[in-house]
């Protein structure tokens, strides 16, 4: 238990000074990790092959892990010490006030906390007391109830005791937290499960911040941006180190901060999934491994991790280029069958890179995001071919407000006065974009690109709310998903014969069997009224053993250069220069 003397003499700045130096170690370790990843690992793994290189790389990867570990854990020591200094200031202030009060009253505070006070003499007592019958031998004993000084002394003693108790409690709590942040000199030991536990335990001590962050999730991104901007740099750092998963995924937080927080969170999330070990966890883990590899490689434009999580089929938001500094930002919603897995980390993320590199040829100030912020419908043999999930609007509707929030977030943190934002929906993702446009406040995008769409849930381009001249459609004639119900008989007549076997059956019954499988008018039709840009027809289904080859080429400059170029032109703000094709 802390004594009066100790709490009085306590110099909380000793803790703050120490906190600062741990914070500095944490900050520099993060910078060091980046240098190891980009200037050493990436540089050597790119060019160098052979055993010397792989031995060096394994050493360097371990070094990178250690810097990450030091960054996170020393950040927690910093946070604990800062919290300790701040929290102890309050009982110290209370104690000082009680001591000052005692001094004013000329009371004496003993080191054990008892308070001595001068007895009130009879002539100072209020009149009624003098009117008591006199007892010549002894005055009636003055109790706390009758001696006003006794009551004051008691109150001061209580305040002192309460301040000491509070300080003792704070001290005990933080000592416990600090005790968990032990380490040793073994570089092989970077136990992320342990780090995650440390984090969680310290988060509980800062329960007020946890609650505040939970509330922030539901607030408009602009408000969150303001809230964040008003915080001191130290407080921002503290929050980001203590709540990396929360800050990393919070709309309205600057992109670079989100990226750093998510990179801190990533090893902990991966470890959690590793421990889980279920098929679902393994699938997500494979995705995160792929992302992690991409994130530590040298990327041009730079790659930022704007969101990551294991909820549902997994979450991942990545941006090629900084969306806060870029004049043009696109956000692509993937569809049908997309989930956080190895394919996502590979092919789906590559589409954002393709968009960014093409668009940056026309305007270098461009960032392209891939947004897996919702559960897209899953297809595939494991789900059964008759999965109606694919065809329901539920997933799109559910994802719509979250996507709108993300677009709001881009606007809220973008430094340009009028950033140009393009929403891109591919496949089922275009329905999500369509649904996002039907939310009460509309979709906060300037242009919309619809690719390989089974319909967007509205019958007219103008219903998307950005003006029909800002709605662009890419629909390959050999992409079965892009065909509207009006054409299904035609397709069945030709493609249906072409597509035999189980896949053909699936396509025929699920895609073309029923009007209600489709989400409104074909966006490539004249009736819909959008701007149809030129794309390659693509190969016919199954000719190359691929289920729907023409469905997945729109972004790829090597397989459909014209489509990729048109997308790049629109995203970079040059939509007047696109090549067009006649609507269906």
């Amino acid at each position: 238990m802390v004594t009066i003397d100790e709490l009085t003499r306590l110099d909380t700045s000793k803790f703050s000074t120490a906190a600062k130096s741990w914070g500095e170690i944490s900050r520099k370790a993060s910078a060091a990790r980046q240098r190891v990843d980009y200037e050493m690992v990436a540089a050597l793994s790119k060019r160098e092959k052979g055993e010397a290189a792989s031995a060096a790389l394994s050493d360097l990867r371990q070094l990178s892990q250690n810097y990450q570990y030091i960054h996170t854990e020393c950040g927690l020591v910093r946070t604990a010490l800062d919290g300790l200094a701040a929290d102890l200031a309050e009982p110290q202030r209370k104690l000082q006030q009680a001591l000052d009060h005692a001094e004013q009253l000329k009371f004496t505070v003993r080191s054990n906390g008892s308070v001595e006070f001068p007895r009130v003499s009879f002539d100072q007592l209020p009149a009624p007391a003098l009117q008591q019958p006199a007892h010549p031998d002894s005055a009636p004993p003055l109790t706390a109830a009758t001696d006003p000084n006794a009551a004051k002394a008691q109150e001061i003693a209580d305040r002192i005791a309460s301040a000491l108790r509070e300080a003792g409690e704070i001290d005990r709590r933080y000592a416990e937290e600090l005790g968990k942040l032990r380490t040793n000199g073994n570089l092989k030991n970077t136990d992320w499960a342990d780090v995650a536990r440390d984090l969680k335990s310290l988060q509980a001590v800062r329960g007020d911040s946890a609650k505040e962050l939970a509330e922030r999730k539901g607030k408009p991104p602009r408000e969150n941006a303001r809230w964040w901007g008003e915080k001191s740099k130290e407080e921002q750092e503290r929050l980001a180190s203590l709540f990396p998963g929360e800050i990393g995924n919070l709309d309205g937080i600057p992109a670079e901060t989100r990226d750093r927080a998510n990179r801190d969170y990533l090893p902990m999330l991966m470890d959690k999934l590793r421990e889980d070990g279920s098929d679902d966890a393994e699938t997500k883990l494979a995705g995160l491994r792929g992302l992690s590899e991409k994130l530590t490689a040298r990327n041009d434009p730079p790659l930022l991790l704007l969101g990551v999580g294991d909820e549902g089929h997994g979450r991942a938001i990545l941006s090629y280029g900084n969306p806060d500094t870029s004049k043009n930002v696109s956000a692509y919603v993937p569809g049908l069958g997309t989930r956080l897995d190895a394919d996502f980390a590979d092919g789906t993320v590559a589409r954002a890179q393709q968009t960014a590199s093409t668009a940056r040829r026309y305007n270098a100030s461009t960032a392209s995001v891939v947004w897996l912020g919702y559960d897209a419908p899953i297809t595939g043999t494991d789900q059964g071919w008759n999965n109606l999930d694919v065809m329901g609007e539920g997933r799109a509707k559910k994802g719509a407000p979250t996507y709108d929030r993300f677009l709001e977030s881009i606007r809220a943190t973008n430094g340009n006065e009028h950033p140009h934002v393009t929403a891109i929906g591919h496949s089922y993702g275009s329905l999500t974009v369509g649904k996002a446009s039907q939310e009460p406040s509309g979709i906060p995008a300037d242009d919309i690109i619809i690719l390989g769409s089974p319909g967007v849930g509205v019958d007219k381009a103008e219903d998307l709310g950005v003006g029909k001249e800002h709605v662009f459609v890419g629909a390959a004639d050999n992409d079965p998903v892009s065909w509207a119900p009006s054409k299904r008989d035609t397709i069945l007549g030709t493609g249906g014969v072409l597509m035999g076997g189980a896949l053909g059956g699936y396509v025929a019954t699920e895609l073309f069997g029923d009007d209600k499988n489709w989400f409104g008018t074909d966006p490539a039709s004249k009736e819909f009224g959008a701007q149809r840009f030129k794309v390659n027809d693509g190969p016919a289904p199954l000719i190359h053993g691929d289920f729907m080859p023409a469905h997945s080429r729109y972004f790829d400059p090597s397989r459909d250069p014209e489509s990729a170029k048109n997308i790049g032109l629109i995203v970079s703000g040059h939509s007047k220069e696109i090549t067009r094709m006649a609507p269906r």
Partner: protein, 143 residues
């Protein structure tokens, strides 16, 4: 005269899989021309090798050197920030716990420091051995 730090055996072992390498054995078997680079590296202490400043190994070695020096400074600052912690925090168990976790952290940071120092030497030696310039290095690896 300063000598270049000796590469850890695993790295060189990997580079010379059939040759037994220990810390005590001279670290590199340079091709002709590389000897000069080593001499100049040794002469310059922890400085760059004159002949091999552009290759990825040498650049990586330079980064390891930066990180090594930066960690030295960070550890000094950390020590400095904890000087006199005891006065003004007497009676608080948090202060004694902080003191108790520092030795483990000191070990961890020292281990990283050492690793950076050994990498600085190892990477440079490999770079020197290759007498690296990018095309030459690539050729060496393609063999």
């Amino acid at each position: 005269m300063a000598t270049p730090p000796s590469p850890s055996s695993n790295l060189l072992q990997a580079f010379h899989p059939h040759q037994h390498v220990t810390e005590a054995i001279p670290v590199v078997m340079p091709r002709e021309g590389a000897r000069m680079a080593i001499a100049s590296a040794a002469g310059a202490g922890s400085g760059d090798t004159h002949r091999a400043t552009s290759g990825p190994w040498t650049r990586a070695s330079g980064v390891a050197g930066d990180l090594h020096r930066s960690m030295q400074e960070d550890m000094r600052n950390l020590d400095h920030a904890h000087e006199g912690l005891k006065s003004g925090t007497g009676g608080f168990s948090s202060a004694s716990t902080l003191d108790s976790i520092r030795s483990g952290w000191n070990d961890r940071l020292s281990a990283v420091l050492k690793k950076c120092r050994s990498l600085e030497g190892d990477l440079r030696s490999v770079g020197v051995e290759f007498h690296e310039n990018e095309s030459h290095t690539e050729r060496s690896f393609k063999k």
